[in-house]
Symmetry: C2
Subunit: 347 residues, 2 copies
């Protein structure tokens, strides 16, 4: 026997095709019909066909999540949260890589194939073409990141500036006066805004010495290489370094260890994103929490809301930052794991 279709079920149940569809989908139908159809469907092992239903309803039950690198823990954490929110509404999640700027635009254009009902996108670089494509898209999209003011697209933003300010403040309180910022690629959204936050926070005080360095990528390896170069180039040692993200921060800690520098006494290190890596490193990495899981959740909720009502005015949600202090900036708790107390990272 081939595929069991709704027609087979209808015949078996002795009712019309339409009634079968209605009964199966909880539309108006008499109890008797529902019963007959249910039984017939169960006997035949009927399973509705996605493609046929999608063609008819113009809905797929799928959402896409697109990021530059699914290997980065911060995206993994977002994805996990997004998956759990949308799965509760019976949506499946399709993962895509954004690739370069052109590929990202292609990805957005491709939405018009109708293979998903919505998109959550966290682009590393935002181009005009991307904004245009997003605004023109018939498929709802929400962006985790920063778009130009007035872009007609739902966005969920982190408060990078505020977050970095928390880090600077914390370091200064701990006695640091010479503070460096180790950026990633400066032409990216995180690179730009996190750096800007650093500049502003430093400018608000006049007793700080600061400088910026930059890693070629948002990875441990690139962080290690850039930190090594930084150590070579600086005449006087830095009191502290703020990394553009946790991966780069870990790279800095490795480089420091290689030089025989002790963290935090010789050098304090702060990461950004507060990923689970911060608790694996030793000492633990103090990190700015930009609310990745909350941003993921918010993005999913915004998307679901927009799909519900496409006429909604575009919204921009900003998630507040916080600072998670660990051993990389304060000597006390460095040898005692937080697992001892049973407290976890905020979820």
């Amino acid at each position: 026997m081939g595929r069991v279709t709704i027609a087979d079920v209808a015949k078996r149940a002795g009712v019309s095709l339409a009634s079968t569809s209605r009964a199966l989908n909880g539309q108006v139908a008499s109890a008797a019909t529902v019963e007959k159809v249910r039984a017939a469907a169960a006997e035949l092992g009927y399973i509705p066909d996605s493609a046929a239903r999608s063609l008819r309803t113009r809905r797929t039950g799928q959402l896409a999540f697109a990021v530059a690198d699914i290997g980065n823990p911060v995206y993994v954490e977002m994805m996990r949260e997004i998956e759990s929110v949308v799965a509760a509404e019976d949506y499946r999640l399709v993962v895509s890589r954004t690739g370069d700027a052109d590929a990202t635009v292609d990805l957005v254009r491709d939405l018009n194939r109708g293979y998903v009902d919505g998109l959550i996108l966290s682009p590393l670089r935002v181009t005009d073409a991307l904004v245009t494509a997003l605004e023109a898209s018939t498929v709802p999209a929400v962006v985790i990141g920063r778009l130009p003011d007035g872009a007609g697209v739902d966005t969920v933003m982190a408060d990078s500036e505020g977050g970095v300010a928390l880090a600077v403040e914390h370091l200064v309180t701990g006695g640091a006066r010479r503070i460096a910022f180790l950026n990633g690629p400066a032409d990216t959204t995180p690179g730009r805004f996190r750096h800007a936050g650093f500049l502003r926070a430093v400018a608000e005080r006049n007793d700080l010495v600061s400088a910026e360095y930059s890693a070629e990528d948002f990875t441990i390896e690139a962080g290690y290489a850039a930190a090594s170069a930084m150590f070579d180039s600086a005449e006087d040692p830095w009191d502290a370094v703020i990394a553009v993200n946790d991966l780069v921060g870990i790279g800095i800690m490795h480089a420091a260890a290689t030089r025989g520098l002790t963290v935090p006494t010789d050098l304090a290190v702060v990461g950004i994103d507060n990923t689970s890596l911060t608790e694996v490193s030793h000492p633990g990495l103090t990190s700015v929490d930009l609310g990745s899981t909350r941003r993921g959740r918010k993005a999913a909720q915004l998307l679901l809301a927009r799909m519900e009502d496409p006429e909604l005015a575009p919204r921009a949600v900003r998630v507040p930052p916080s600072l998670q202090v660990r051993g990389s900036t304060t000597a006390q708790p460095s040898s005692v794991s937080r697992f001892a107390s049973g407290e976890g990272r905020p979820r």
Copy 2:
């Protein structure tokens, strides 16, 4: 204007609908027709509809990857590799959680909705119902893990036994005689086979003292808790502990640090999976590499091959293990990062 369909393109190009389809899909068509159709499609911004095409062709261009927890780095690494292999063939990747055993079976049954062309599944627990569902599935599936002998399903297996033997051998060479195994849930595939490997490796020598403990989950937290309990219960200290995976291994290192035990001198620790976490911890975590990325790649290749030719006899591929030695078992390299030398983890 609404959706641009192939009919619009046909009209614009002045040829029939059928010719338009053929021209667009590289079927037989005169150069002139192709040219006209191409131009018309470009002018109108035609984008083919996925659902309609899928309904007709019975293909979706999608593959599913299902695991227990997309947060576990080992699955992330597999997913990354799988995505890159299948994206090269223009497949999209749908991620799903396996959930409990029943949910896993439901997931496999649901394949018959036809929303994907194939599935890569890495189940934590394998039930008879799951094997039956897999064998009955009309949609090709490949399992990363262990199935009962003779199951008619493509599988990619790790050599857990061989891998754990490498770890034991390495520890013994380093002078360890009292070696514990810290398992995860014993009723899971990894729990069962990794433990079995330990038992066999230990049994092959008569100069070892050993014992098994077990964490409630494959996580850092559970590893920490179980290691703490282990430290409490053991009369004499262990020379070394082999963890069921890297996460549990990291948990052990945390617990050791909390007790004031120095790794590797007081206690050597070995993880399994050789995830990127092994390079974040300090000292680096020696780990058994079970070839997660290779398994991912192999699984993707097997799946693509089976979709190409469904008549293929089921295959079982076994990926060889290796051991990656780091500071958690040997004192020398513990303070110098591997990033100094520029060498990376095997890919």
